[in-house]
Symmetry: C2
Subunit: 146 residues, 2 copies
DNA sequence: TATTTGTCTATATAATCTATAGACTTTATG
DNA sequence: CATAAAGTCTATAGATTATATAGACAAATA
């Protein structure tokens, strides 16, 4: 399960992607628009800034904007930043690999093999889906005829 | 992330699958062989029994065995029994569907679409992999030449 | 009736998730 | 230079879940 934190992060980043032409956007605008608890969102944005996905300016007229091109930030990147490994078990993770405590022989672990498939399938989707891809999805929907 | 509980459940079921011909197997044997905390495993097995995957007999010569044919029990079944939904977000789950609290329009939610792909890919793997499939994996490995 | 084995109930600890409060710092602008 | 508007930092708190452990209880067999 994706944490709420990660879901909020994705929503916030997508909002900033959609509003990239408007320059800096206020935390509270994002919080209101996406119905994310204000203070919780603050912490998430600081986190994303630390990780280099966002940039911000303080003081009057300040706010947040993307630090990278939306075509360079994948959903997989973001989920990993907030929640850690995509893999259902760590012994199958690429970036967060760790041996299972109780496992005697990793080579012959059948569960490991199934979970590896799941990890690979998940990564294949999330690591090839970028913010820019998500943004495009509803363009047609929003362009309703007058 | 799969919980340890679910991983232990899978390991225990796989162990029982491999030892199906031996009749009833002791909790403590499973716990020792798979290095699962004994008392914790107990609770898991009771759970799996309640859900109809296992059967047990009390008293001397008692123990656990599978209640179904291993070709009828999928990894997806088991994971759902213990951890609930396979889906990364509930709004995309088939059996545990629930609307996201903060979501205004589910139809146009881009995040929902990516996560739906992940859920479908995961389900495609786990719902078509049965205990019997897992059991087969190491048959060749174990049949080492003398 | 003693022993073996599963069952039930309660408890404990730790971690994580989700969130909130409030003081502080920076920046623009009048 | 004072004020207002914004992000930042630190602390905390409540709830839930994960991961166990202990011990009394019930059933089956020999």
């Amino acid at each position: 399960m994706l944490s709420k934190k990660a879901k909020y992060a994705l929503k916030a980043l997508l909002y900033l992607t959609k509003n990239a032409d408007r320059g800096l956007v206020l935390i509270s605008e994002i919080a209101n628009s996406e119905r994310i608890p204000r203070k919780f969102l603050e912490a998430i944005l600081v986190d994303l800034k630390t990780q280099g996905v966002l940039q911000s300016t303080r003081g009057k007229n300040g706010g947040y904007s993307l630090a990278k091109d939306p075509s360079q930030v994948s959903v997989g990147n973001i989920v990993r930043m907030i929640d850690g490994p995509l893999a259902p078990i760590q012994c199958v993770s690429h970036l967060y690999y760790r041996k299972c405590d109780e496992c005697l022989n990793e080579e012959t672990c059948e569960i490991r093999l199934v979970m590896k498939k799941v990890r690979d399938a998940t990564a294949a989707i999330l690591d090839t889906t970028y913010l820019s891809d998500l943004q495009k999805i509803n363009v047609l929907v929003n362009e309703e005829p007058l």
